[in-house]
Assembly symmetry: C2
Homo-oligomer: 448 residues x 2
Amino acid sequence: MKKTNLLIIGGSAAGLLTATTARKTYPDINITLIRETPNVMVPCGIPYIFGTLHSTDKNVIPDAMLKDANIDLIVDSVLSIDRANKTVTTKENETIQYEKLMIGTGSLPTIPTFIPGHDLDNVYPIIKDSRYLDKLLEKVEAAQNVAIIGGGFIGVEFAEQIRLLNKNVTLIELGESCLWQAYDKKYSDEIESMMTEQGIEILTNNKVSKINGSTAVEEVELESGKKIIADLVILALGVAPNVDLARHAGIKLNENGAIAVDQYMRTNDPDVFAAGDCAEKTCFFTGKNVPILLASTAAMEAKIAGYNLFDLNLVRTTPGTISAFSTKVFGRTFAAAGITEATAQIEGFNYVVGEFTTMDHHPGSLPGTQALHIKLIFSKASGIILGAQISGGDSTGEMINILSLAIQKGLTATELNTFQVATHPLISASPIAYPINSASMNAMIAMK
Amino acid sequence: MKKTNLLIIGGSAAGLLTATTARKTYPDINITLIRETPNVMVPCGIPYIFGTLHSTDKNVIPDAMLKDANIDLIVDSVLSIDRANKTVTTKENETIQYEKLMIGTGSLPTIPTFIPGHDLDNVYPIIKDSRYLDKLLEKVEAAQNVAIIGGGFIGVEFAEQIRLLNKNVTLIELGESCLWQAYDKKYSDEIESMMTEQGIEILTNNKVSKINGSTAVEEVELESGKKIIADLVILALGVAPNVDLARHAGIKLNENGAIAVDQYMRTNDPDVFAAGDCAEKTCFFTGKNVPILLASTAAMEAKIAGYNLFDLNLVRTTPGTISAFSTKVFGRTFAAAGITEATAQIEGFNYVVGEFTTMDHHPGSLPGTQALHIKLIFSKASGIILGAQISGGDSTGEMINILSLAIQKGLTATELNTFQVATHPLISASPIAYPINSASMNAMIAMK
């Protein structure tokens, strides 16, 4: 029987970063990572296999990090966890004894079993396995009419990438707007109008009633009666924590079906940790359980877990998890952090908004300049920042992280109005119109 | 005699943003801005007139901000300030009475009068006046061999832009490295090697002894005896506060010749404020007077001044000014905030360094990916961040501002190790290798 000090189940963001963090924190322990696939897909890179990389080989997380950290890698599936004996057994009939166990089993795509025809040929959920995605890549390249069900990030990013291949693309979303969980209407409207201009048909406020076809899909039928011709359907209805293994081992789950953890990623078993999509997230603002299933969240949690496995080394400095998103659609970047105005209303925050528009280079006559729109949401009485949304050029991708940090540290409009920044003509807005400063100033006026 | 509630002298970053901030803070006052030039150059955009914009017209700060804020604009020169009567008199013989006065007279280029030949024809300091720069643009376009004296940001940026026009460019720097005030050697070496690869001759550790020529410059002679053929010389030896007007009015200057101000930009006269390059800066870390003459610093100070002219509305939330720089040279961005390792040593800080290298997109096979190097400097005992340097793609320009904010708020390696970020394949590093998190982790290991 193999014995290891630390056994990690799962080789994506949570597993990998727990392994490398534990190695740096505990130089002398033996660490084993077990995963199901021979290689690991960059999870957020999956849409870009289709319209940009044209190959799954180019979307692999290199194993060099594991080798450099002297982690034992096993490609196999864990079938069960025996917490009493502190062992796991695998499909290849191996038994491994652990001292500490980290569960990073991630999430699985939601399969809409309530939609008749969801199991027809050429109907594909997105599964993070290169062998499966190789097959899907062939199907996408051969398709003429692609319907995508679900207008979240995966749906929107697949729609953009497949449209770049000149396919007819229809995106169907149940809610009022694509990406409504991340952006208020002004920003989702901007995304939708760009996509529509590029020839993508967007059907919001629409529910799929059936997927029709003999053996393979032929059309998608909506509750409105509208029928969309489709020889390929992508299911992008979100993901849910992959917790079967944990549940069967008697690890406590929360009411949303995620593994319950404390702020140091410990489960109800002190020798079992969980991090990433399979673990519960506590909302930074309200303490509620929230489904923020992002690789960046997984990475943060993995660091917390990796440091604290054998003793509590690294104090967690925030009360919970914030949303922090970015995406790029047809050359324009959209980013958000914290809560939207819509969520602020639902939760009952008394808030003010500060908005601003400027050019993302200065002067705006410089090549590559894009307009940048920013919206900041502050608590009206306390002045503390609650949320941010930005659309603009590539710089938006890091500008949002200034706000991610500001939210996590509880900074105020006063502080964000006058904090000092570096600017440069070719890569940023003008210092006299720096977006975060300027939008914070406008919010302060609204607070008066 | 014209009367105004607020008179602002100077129309660049400090004057302009004081005007618009005062308008938002004090909606009902009369505001007058007086400046010397019919239009205002984007100050940091000046180098890009030469190799990118090919015109000063494209580098103008639009007057729309002033018009929208209902600011009276006068193009004229203030000759003197009479503080007893609270008036100024101008070259056009106007007298204007003010209630509050804001001096934003900026800086003037340092002229090396100690170098024989500094006043020959075709030897140009950089003056922020479009009429002067139009003439220089003609000269640059006609030149074959351009020598640039001074390897700071202006010198480096002019060298890059003029090299894009296929001129022979020689850059002469007194110190050991170009940009040594902003970057430690590893980063300045990277900049220098890129510039050398592109055909710029860089002569560091070299002092100019004479500029030779009959009426116009023909060569630059170094103390080493080396002679550089040059039909155009750019003087980029830095700038100094433009304070003649203030001094003659009896406004107190500090020992470096900048206008002495308190933290709300008030001079020794309670009705006279100063902001921008002409005003003194107090080092965030040491409280010393430091010459950080940047448009972004001017913008921050202008906001502080604009809010606080008639009553103290906006509390300043930092103890002083930090350096925060970015530049882009031949497609690569270099940014820095806070103090360098060299400065940390000089000041006697007990520090640790955390470094990290990764790709700025993920997977790294995506188009446009560049390697990103980051170096963070932390106080060893307190863990507080002191400085940051980054080289990479365009995203570096905003990533440095995460660190600018972190420095200004006194954040620690623990906080920066695990703060949560938004990431996306096309625009950022991988969440499992997010540069700030990863470099902070390496610094924590070094602290143990």
